[in-house]
Symmetry: C2
Subunit: 338 residues, 2 copies
DNA sequence: CTGAAAGCGCTAACAC
DNA sequence: GTGTTAGCGCTTTCAG
């Protein structure tokens, strides 16, 4: 593969000149530039990005790093949409973007800043971070720029992009209440998860506003999995039948699907006998029968915004901030007005 | 951020020695190694991977490159599962893996080998390649190792991993026929797509084996989109009702979903009035009502296998070959025995 | 406008 | 065992 030296030699100039030709400097004659570019393309020269970033001070490469990629969780679709958004921005801003996976073990071995250094990164988007991840604690005092997605983080070099989970879940709950549901079971997410806590506090806010009680037995603690949601809903229905809740307020579309499955299997119908709402607006939510009323997070745009914020922070550290994106209630057929 | 120099200085040795300490050479005393490692971890030194690969001859980094990431297509879930599998192998084999996106325009500007050079890649997995992509033609004579996923490619440095689309679709068709369907409508994929052609020839094989006719009006050409499948199925049903096909053989789960939607909307039921089969085994296929009988490609394992093949090719060019992975018929509720 | 040379962080001979 | 040094491919002063 041709290097800058080969080009220089063929063009009868020095490597410095070739470099100038390629980097849009103006202190070079159009004639030499053209002849250099021509020769370069003839012999198929492309600059080696890593050699470049090594010799330059400024790092222009960024990354999206996914924590816990190999874990079994339901964020796959979200991660991919995020990637799409981030790549879109990277393309527009002419930034090199790569996606890496980093597990919990590696996080213990090296800090986020070290990860960036090792990969010559100017900064990265962090996705899939959980409270138990080592980076969760260290990140806010990182010296390397970072934008965390879906988790609230703020430091001199780190910002975050998310939606207001509490408000969104409040809206979702409100929608149920507006449809005259006041006995509402909650399919809670993973108990320790930050998002679960946020969402729960949104639900409570709505409940309190309307003077609605939510007794203990109406809170079903899942791990965000469909199976667990299915089992708990089934148990609940076996015990209470139609004397209990009239609606299931789920902290994710996946748990909503589990709930719907259980409801149907018990011979009930959605939304005629029970209403169900989800959260995330995965593509699945469109295809179930009935479609699931849910909260859309506009994930692709979130990725775009996160990448944009990162590039701002890289240019100017004081740009570090938290961005809260709007959410949207998506109404489909899974709720009946009582 | 600390460099190898800093470590050398603090340890009172030269950079060469530090390098030796870090790369498991044995011509170094255990004492100095330990002291170097200790100091390194104290000042938080981690080697810069790019500087390393620059100074070494052998490139050990690999990538998964996704063509057409930003295009609107339904392969998102597949791409992500593939990534998971590839990262799994990379982790086991201790390879650095990054994911890049490359659009059609960039493919025109630089060859695959140039892309690898520019990113200091030892090779890459290529996903999402279409026949219209520039790389599709150039790849087989590439000097840089490559493993293409889902498209048949073979060259001195390039191999591929896929399933036998023709055989798989044959199986799928056979399943319908075994259930006594002999008037079968085909929801064809994108007309020029290689996969469509393969699958069609599998269907034809099964048809011919059983002496079944498939008249022109029973072939509905979609673009793999749900909407198009929905429209065409609806038209078909409006025209023929229950006098036409008894089953819809779809080239993807997404088109199957479109078909099911149309069937239901016309007041018919699946599988009571019409049977439907899909292809891909997306997670969606489990959640529809009824679940869709489909072909599973074991996508994550495919990613794993592809990464493994790539590492083999990188070690030994003669390892370049095509690997055909087994597929599996997944039976769910969308087919009725006549 | 262009050449020369130092240096980015690291490895790999080659000495001693 | 360890130091020395020449690169890897590129950018960026500093001269001229």
């Amino acid at each position: 593969m041709a290097t800058i030296k080969d080009v220089a030699q063929k063009a009868g100039v020095t490597v410095g000149t070739v470099s100038r030709a390629f980097n849009g400097y103006n202190d070079i004659s159009e004639k030499t530039r053209e002849s250099i570019l021509k020769i370069a393309s003839e012999i198929g020269y492309v600059p080696n990005l890593h050699a470049k970033s090594l010799s330059m001070k400024k790092k222009t490469n960024i990354a999206m790093v996914i924590s816990g990629l190999l874990d079994e969780h339901q964020t796959d679709e979200n991660a991919f949409l995020l990637m799409k958004g981030a790549y879109k921005f990277a393309q527009e801003a002419n930034l090199e973007l790569a996606t890496y996976a980093i597990d919990r073990e590696s996080q213990k071995k090296k800090t986020y800043a070290q990860f960036c250094y090792e990969h010559s990164l100017g900064g990265a988007l962090m996705f899939g971070l959980r409270t138990i991840d080592p980076y969760f604690k260290n990140l806010r005092k990182s010296t390397a720029p970072c934008v965390a997605v879906d988790v609230s983080l703020k430091g001199p070099n780190v910002g975050s992009v998310m939606i207001d989970d509490e408000a969104a879940f409040d809206d979702l709950t409100e929608y149920l209440i507006r449809n005259n549901h006041n006995r509402i079971a909650v399919l809670y997410g993973r108990r320790e998860a930050e998002v679960s806590i946020e969402r729960w506090s949104g639900a409570r806010r709505a409940f309190e506003r309307h003077g609605i009680e939510c007794p203990k037995e109406q809170i079903l603690y899942t791990d965000f999995s469909q199976d667990r949601a299915y089992c708990l809903t089934k148990e609940y229905l076996e015990r209470y039948g139609k004397t209990g809740a009239t609606a299931f307020l789920c902290m994710s579309d996946i748990t909503a699907i589990g709930a719907i499955q259980a409801i149907k299997e018990m011979g009930y119908r959605v939304p005629n006998d029970f209403s169900v709402v989800g959260y995330d607006n995965l593509s699945i939510a469109r295809y179930t029968e009935p479609g699931i009323t849910t909260i859309d997070q506009n994930t692709q745009f979130k990725g775009y915004t996160a990448a944009k914020l990162l590039s701002e922070i890289m240019a100017d550290r004081t740009a570090a901030r938290q961005i809260v994106l709007p959410h949207k209630l998506v109404v489909r057929g899974s709720v009946r007005k009582l």
